[in-house]
């Protein structure tokens, strides 16, 4: 309750800040964006003389038709959620992080090297230490563009994209040289992949015979933690303040560059953790395609979840399901899974495009509420 004003004027203020119609509107828009994107995908399929109904049916069947399909959707949702949490922090500070791919790679590389180098450590120490190390490596991959932004005025969109390319080349180099699987070298195959990681660093599997691992639980717990961080701590408040109004934050005495760099560093850390989880939870070794484009699709999940950590949880699962469904569709009805990249891109464009409608809606609600107050 605001302390100022007389008792009679308190109620309308409450009505402006919370309105179920408002919540409904905000939830409906992303859903509409999704439906529109899927419809355009269907038109594309028709043009290619494929049957969209059977393609989408194969997707749904692929995810919900079996335990393995369903658990896979959770496995794919996990890195999406972790990347998405980082995106929430960065975007809330109005810092655009396109560097998810490079940050995932940094985390995955570090986790691989660290768990192999310290394989003598007991599991209770090695597992958390590996995760922290991977987080820090990703954070470093975010800190560099962060510092370049606040110190040398380098646009973070461009520098994070460059850091992606550098990360990919670094991984290509390490997987063909220092980190290459010695077994592959002995066998003469020279596959660009790392040695199998020691078993005591693997994340425990939750359902036998599936890939579902404890990383999923960790990611959901972290979502709650990021929510508390952004909305219940001073640092989180400052990050959001910087994003809402840089100038006002500066006048209020907030050190804007510090919080911009910090948000990008944290975003990198979470993406790095996504890389760790892929390595020690799913593959148990580092493979070239470790990012699977999660650095980009994590942005989609974060936007779809309204840049709210708790909204990103269901959004990641939705997109995890789409990715799994697309794989199954490719196998079942020979429609390339690239269809889903298209749908994801359209969802991004439609969701950011609908922000204008949300703003106009909010403005109208405010006017209506103000009129109510006048009366």
């Amino acid at each position: 309750m605001p302390p100022h004003g007389t008792a009679g004027t308190v109620r309308p203020a409450r009505r402006v800040t919370f309105d179920w119609r408002d919540v409904g509107f905000r939830a409906v828009l992303p859903a509409l964006a999704m439906v529109a994107a899927l419809l355009i995908g269907a038109v594309l399929l028709l043009l290619l003389k494929a049957d969209p109904v059977s393609a989408y049916a194969a997707m749904i069947q692929g995810v919900f038709g079996s335990v393995s399909g369903f658990t896979q959707s959770l496995v794919k949702a996990t890195p999406l959620l972790l990347v998405g949490l980082g995106i929430c922090i960065a975007f809330r500070a109005s810092v655009i992080n396109i560097g998810g791919e490079g940050q995932i790679i940094a985390g995955a590389l570090m986790a691989t090297w660290f768990s192999l180098a310290f394989r003598g450590w007991p599991g209770w120490l090695l597992l958390p230490a590996t995760m922290v190390a991977g987080f820090l490596a990703g954070a470093l991959w975010g800190l560099i563009p962060g510092l370049l932004k606040v110190r040398l005025n380098v646009n973070e969109i461009l520098s994070t994209v460059m850091m992606n390319a550098i990360g990919i080349q670094l991984m290509n180099f390490l997987l063909r040289g220092p980190l290459i699987d010695p077994a592959g070298v002995r066998a003469g195959t020279f596959l660009p992949q790392s040695e199998r990681l020691p078993e005591h660093v693997w994340l425990p599997r939750l359902v036998p015979q599936t890939l579902l691992h404890a990383g999923t639980i960790i990611a959901v717990l972290l979502a709650a933690a990021v929510y508390v961080f952004l909305w219940r701590t001073t640092i989180g408040y400052r990050i959001r303040a910087v994003g809402l109004n840089r100038e006002a934050s500066r006048y209020a005495g907030i050190n804007v560059p510090v919080y911009q760099a910090l948000s990008l560093t944290l975003a990198g850390g979470f993406a790095g953790l996504a890389g760790v989880v892929e390595v020690i939870g799913v593959q148990h070794r580092l493979l070239e395609g470790v990012t699977s484009g999660y650095g980009f699709s994590g942005i989609v999940a974060a936007l779809f979840g309204g840049l709210h950590p708790l909204g990103v949880v269901p959004a990641s699962w939705l997109f995890g399901s789409l990715l799994v469904g697309a794989d199954k569709m490719q196998r079942a009805v020979q429609v390339p899974s690239a269809l889903i990249d298209t749908v994801l891109g359209l969802v991004v464009m439609f969701v950011v495009g609908s922000a204008l409608l949300t703003r106009r809606w909010a403005a109208r609600r405010a006017i209506v509420a103000a009129k109510g107050e006048d009366r």
Binding site: L44, L152, M162, M163, Q169, V300, G345, V348, V352
Partner: protein, 313 residues
């Protein structure tokens, strides 16, 4: 060390420089186009996606009709459509440009991969644009080989540089574009339609990005595969910043970037002992360094990346 001798011999240096000129082609088309869009205040980060779709369209049409020029036309058309989509989201619906551009990139990547798998499937090649020796000039020793023995798209790409300079600095259209990019409110009050100018600039830039894709698939590599550009479009966006929004600066950046690239390619060919993956990293590190050391952002269009809404101050 015999290797060092070969690297610094005249034929090798000439070869590196000729490759640099050739490799600069797609970057020039795309970055000059992006500069026009950015001059009007719209950051289009989807260049890479437009290039991919343009490269696919050009290749597919050339493969099926046998006409390179129809392929080029198809790439321009695809560029126009992608430009309209980007404008709709970023200009009409006033979306955050950095993010809508990433969406456009994903659309371009997805659609080009999808169409490639369905309509072509395996890696095929076409006979692309052939080298066109310019009479007399191409006979100049060294310089002739570096500059005047390329295919038509290479010359065309370099021709866009003076053309874009003239267009942006010497025509009323160019002045309108810059006015809209620097002070949309003032331009609006003088009766210039901000949205219309931005639509036109973004679409023109996207058509050039489509051409960049066509130059790649019909003149440089003569094939198409999934993710053929591998991030070239993002480099093109960086080159605009590096070149200070001036076509000549962009050309300098594109040539420098391509020279570093050509150098590392030739080192691989000559089997010089440095890890090739580390050498490929060089251009990207260089780009970041160049962005950090770029003189200043004084020339940056003031309203870049800011959607325009009337009455919003």
């Amino acid at each position: 060390m015999p290797e060092q001798m070969t690297i610094f011999s005249l034929p090798v240096v000439t070869g590196i420089l000729a490759s640099a000129v050739r490799l600069a082609t797609p970057y020039l088309f795309a970055a000059v186009g992006e500069a026009i869009g950015q001059s009007s205040g719209v950051l289009n980060l989807g260049v890479d996606g437009i290039m991919l779709l343009g490269a696919y369209a050009a290749f597919f049409v050339a493969l099926t009709t046998g006409s390179l020029w129809l392929g080029v036309l198809a790439a321009m058309l695809v560029g126009l459509l992608m430009g309209l989509l980007m404008s709709l989201i970023s200009v009409t619906l006033k979306a955050e440009q950095g993010i809508s551009g990433i969406g456009l990139y994903m659309v371009g990547l997805g659609v080009s991969s999808l169409l490639f798998k369905v309509t072509i499937g395996t890696v095929k090649t076409v006979v692309g644009f052939k080298p066109l020796k310019i009479p007399l000039l191409s006979d100049i020793p060294v310089l002739g080989e570096i500059l005047f023995q390329h295919s038509l798209p290479v010359y065309a790409a370099f021709l866009t540089v003076p053309l874009a300079w003239w267009f942006l600095d010497r025509t009323s259209w160019g002045l309108k574009i810059k006015a809209v990019g620097h002070n949309p409110t003032a331009a609006d009050s003088l009766g210039v339609s901000v949205d219309r100018v931005r639509y036109a600039s973004v679409c023109l830039g996207a058509v050039l990005s489509g051409l960049a894709g066509a130059s790649l698939s019909l003149a440089l590599v003569n094939l198409f595969q999934e993710n053929l550009t591998a991030g070239m479009g993002f480099i093109a966006v960086a080159l605009v910043y590096f070149g200070g929004w001036r076509p000549v600066g962009i050309m300098g950046g594109a040539l420098l970037f391509s020279a570093v690239n050509a150098f590392q390619l030739w080192m691989q060919v000559l089997n010089v002992k440095i890890p090739s993956d580390l050498a490929v990293m060089l251009p990207y590190v260089l780009t970041i360094a160049a962005l950090a050391l770029a003189p200043s952002l004084a020339r940056q269009p003031t309203a870049l990346n800011k959607p325009f809404e009337r009455g919003e101050h």
